[in-house]
């Protein structure tokens, strides 16, 4: 029974997310459409029980699943209209995956990454929620919400001095409520959807830049980062926050690299929505999102947009992030919860610059380097540092995309240090450590745009293709010798070709 419910929920996430995606008129590969639809669907689902609570509607199976079904239907009205106009076949054509081309060297990677995914999914399904931060807040609230039909339940009547987890985003609570109501006693399995969708998305996005062998090696190293991997089956905010934050930047940079078209505009606002979701999950993401305003302004100035357009588009871009902050923090925590959380009181009373630099040093020495970093990230950041140094020394220039990702890494490092300095409650060994998950996909995409890896990728692609080409050329030469036609071109494929 829970598996039928899971299947229905999956369909609901897919369709609702697809409806949202269609609003941005993005033309994407099928793999992207499916993974992004599911991720958007999960995010949307996480918002609905919260919305019910804001309107004081009891949280029951009927209201939760009813609102999910209704939202899915409403979001798909434009698609239904399009289907009526253009026919079902036209709409489905956009969703039909291309011919599945499995190259033999991809299989070993799929097996290992598939193994890691399987183990994670099993633990997500089989074990109860374990992290202390979940048990002393969202998980407990969700458990009592299912029994008492409200997110503001008896949990808030007890002594909560030892925790502030009850003030964190409703994202986790809402998803736990939905999946517990669907028959999963520990909820949690939604996290596997997020994990699998991210992995599939990353693989496709990386293979656009690199040869599959290199792309899959990087993805394997990324998936094997010990600490984030543990959070693929241990629910908390940070892994999901990482996913939506990364996707937000991915589409932001994508909008910047495209010509000013409807696609670029769609990507831009879609990035804003994804950063809004990331902010809804972890409120401090709002600060990080605003730190991307300077490069956005530079980009818009460079493209000679009129001032009014810049103002309006940037306001619209940050609107989801503002809503993602204002609804769960300003409105819900301050006006709905029986206990309040004065954020202003959390600000460090001794804001002295040496403390800020100490925090930066601590992040570097305790989290990013040294023995503890191996336990957290494996060799991933070391590899990134080595390839960054190699590119800086040997090539002395960075590709535009690489610069974007490097900028985002720097912003994240500076931003997290600043937030930790401003709010001592964001400690180094737990909160900042988990917030650093976000750096991992940024580093991954820097590596995907590293020119040394790129050259290596092109060399592999050429070498791989030159075998069949040479055979074809020889066959062609033998066959066509009398006519003396020229040999076929030895150009590498578009994928292997170096980007201009």
């Amino acid at each position: 029974m829970p598996f039928l419910a899971f299947f229905l929920l999956l369909c609901c996430h897919l369709l609702a997310g697809y409806g949202v995606l269609q609003l941005f008129r993005l033309r994407l590969k099928t793999a992207y459409t499916i993974t992004l639809s599911l991720l958007l669907g999960v995010a949307l689902a996480s918002f609905l029980p919260f919305l019910l609570q804001l309107f004081y509607i009891p949280i029951t199976g009927l209201t939760v699943f009813g609102s999910l079904a209704l939202t899915t239907l409403l979001l798909n009205i434009p698609t239904a209209i399009r289907t009526r106009k253009e026919g079902l076949a036209t709409v489905l054509r956009g969703l039909r995956p291309g011919p599945l081309r499995v190259r033999p060297y991809e299989i070993p990677y799929w097996m290992v990454i598939g193994f890691l995914i399987f183990v994670s999914v099993w633990r997500c399904y089989y074990f109860p929620v374990t992290s202390r931060d979940a048990l002393s807040g969202p998980e407990a609230i969700a458990e009592f919400a299912v029994r008492e039909h409200t997110l503001i339940n008896s949990f808030f009547n007890i002594d909560l001095w030892s925790t502030n987890n009850q003030f964190k985003s409703p994202f986790l609570i809402a998803l736990q409520v939905i999946y517990k109501m669907a028959g999963f006693p520990f909820g949690q399995v939604w996290l596997s959807i997020v994990f699998i969708c991210l992995t599939v998305f990353l693989y496709h996005a990386l293979t656009e830049k690199l040869h599959p062998v290199l792309a899959a090696t990087l993805l394997l190293l990324f998936t094997m980062a010990p600490e984030p991997y543990a959070y693929t089956f241990m629910i908390l905010y940070d892994y999901s926050n990482m996913v939506y934050f990364f996707l937000g930047l991915y589409f932001l940079f994508r909008s910047g690299s495209a010509q000013p078209t409807a696609q670029a505009t769609g990507s831009f606002y879609f990035a804003g929505l994804l950063l809004g979701i990331a902010t809804y999950i972890r409120s401090e993401t709002l600060i990080l999102a605003f730190l991307f305003l300077p490069p956005m302004l530079l980009m818009q100035r460079h493209a000679r947009y009129p001032f009014r357009n810049i103002l309006v588009s940037d306001l619209l871009f940050f609107l989801p992030a503002m809503i993602g902050y204002l609804l769960p923090v300003t409105l819900y925590v301050n006006h709905y919860l029986p206990v309040h959380y004065p954020i202003g009181a959390l600000i460090n009373p001794q804001l002295q610059l040496p403390g800020l630099f100490r925090r930066y040093a601590d992040i570097f020495t305790h989290l990013l380097t040294g023995r503890p970093s191996l336990n957290l990230w494996g060799y991933f950041f070391y590899l990134t540092a080595i390839l960054f140094a190699a590119e800086a020394i040997f090539l002395r220039r960075f590709d535009r995309d690489a610069r974007n990702w490097l900028y985002s890494i720097a912003i994240l490092y500076l931003g997290l240090g600043f937030i930790g300095w401003l709010f001592p409650v964001m400690d180094l060994t737990d909160s900042t450590k988990r917030a650093l998950f976000k750096m991992l996909p940024l580093a991954l995409f820097y590596l995907a745009n590293n020119q040394l890896l790129h050259r290596f990728s092109v060399a592999i692609a050429r070498w791989e293709q030159s075998g069949p080409l040479r055979r074809a050329r020889n066959a062609h030469a033998t066959h066509d010798k009398p006519s003396g036609s020229p040999p076929p071109s030895n150009r590498p494929s578009a994928k292997g070709r170096r980007r201009k």
């Binding site: 060297y105 299989i107 290992v112 099993w122 002393s136 002594d159 030892s162 543990a230 191996l374």
Partner: protein
């Protein structure tokens, strides 16, 4: 042929990644161990509660026992006081293997209200979970003076997580 060579290279790269330094240790102790566990767990018919007992350890079992006793004795408004974890650490030397749940987690486990010695509502405590060499006992707190004596006893042990 070249694709075959690339496949061999892919296998070699994977072997290298999985056997390099810390990766090897991690892969052996985490995913491989989890995989071995999976073969034991897949046919397991344990209930959700049994899984929680296994996962949350002894304190979860004790919490359930407390709940059982409270229900058996039909105690009207039970507020359970826990000894500070620093007492387990510095005096009994059983921490962190054994640690008292924080009130929020105890409520999640049992639906009962728990307090620590520095809680705002500690004056409402009417039962104490006491751990000694003889085992775990649930002692009734009969008067405010008895509660004060208990609190004085643990004064030098600040509550820690």
């Amino acid at each position: 042929m070249r694709q075959f060579l690339l496949t061999v290279a892919a296998f070699a790269t994977i072997c290298l990644v999985l056997n390099t330094g810390y990766n090897k240790e991690w892969f052996r102790t985490k995913p491989s161990e989890y995989w071995a566990d999976f073969w034991k767990e897949k046919n397991d018919t344990a209930s959700a509660d049994a899984l929680k007992k296994e996962r949350y350890g002894i304190m979860y079992s004790i919490s359930l026992k407390v709940k059982e006793v409270v229900e058996k004795r039909k105690i009207a408004d039970p507020v359970i006081l826990f000894e500070p974890n620093s007492y387990y650490r510095d005096s009994l030397h059983i921490y962190p293997k054994f640690r008292a749940p924080e009130p929020a987690v105890f409520y999640y486990y049992t639906g009962l209200e728990g307090v620590w010695t520095n809680s705002r509502d500690v004056t409402r405590a009417n039962y104490l979970v006491r751990i000694s060499g003889k085992g775990v006992v649930l002692e009734e707190i009969r008067s405010p003076s008895q509660l004060q004596q208990i609190l004085d006893r643990y004064k030098k042990y600040p509550p820690i997580l």
